[in-house]
Point group: C2
Chain length 144, copies 2
């Protein structure tokens, strides 16, 4: 497996919701965005278009299954999906549940925040995270 | 075809680089980001996971081909790919060539700008746009 020394996504030294040979899924610990998840490709690859065709389809499928898990459990108003990697150029996808009352809506989560979401609302969403972890494990069994 | 009255992406009243039955490709007229492109799904669909499987694969392929066209012509340092749709919840993908000297690098283009790119540099990138349009037409012939 191609690894790059010092790359935090190569090291994958973080709690994962699911870990396979080719990719892992994490639930990001983001205070403002409960249910924010990532799919992290295990090899140090820079762009989607650097992947072999079968791997690209596999990663697209993984992002799709993660979107389904997030929709099923978090019931967001919208899902945002992005592969950026400017800071850490190791292929990973953000899958972010968005709500009308979230910190940036309707702007992207990387814009300036426009509000602070009510703490009680965030607590309700945070309470869904065990169910989200279960849904991820269930949906990703197919990739073993 | 499912359309929603008043949706600007249903209307698709803009110059397109390529237009097919299922999706269109546009080169966005963004002063700070020459080569910024979008794939716009023609039907009014909200999320990737609302698409039928064959359509989802088709749209993933379209984003992939657009990424290749952007890399080939614009030679960016990194490509950013995102499906957000919070403002216009009609499925579309951003494909954005990023450079170390662009207005936001390494932050996402939706963050606060950190610099203004030299106008001469932008002019050189803008001069590539006809070649980008050609590359899109050539690469998207397969989808006719």
């Amino acid at each position: 497996m191609t690894r790059q020394a010092g790359c935090e996504l190569c090291e994958l030294a973080m709690p994962v919701a699911w870990r396979g040979e080719k990719f892992a899924v994490i639930v990001v610990d983001d205070a403002a965005y409960p249910g924010f998840c990532r799919v992290i490709w295990r090899e140090h690859v820079r762009e989607m278009s650097d992947l072999a065709a079968a791997d690209r389809l596999l990663l697209n499928d993984a992002v799709y299954e993660l979107e389904l898990a997030v929709r099923e459990v978090m019931a967001p108003l919208k899902v945002n999906v992005a592969s950026l990697g400017n800071v850490v150029p190791h292929l990973h996808w953000h899958v972010i549940p968005r709500y009308a009352d979230d910190a940036h809506f309707p702007a992207p989560v990387w814009a300036a925040a426009s509000r602070q979401t009510d703490e009680a609302v965030l607590a309700v969403r945070r309470a869904l995270l065990p169910a989200l972890a279960d849904a991820i494990v269930r949906r990703f069994e197919q990739f073993q």
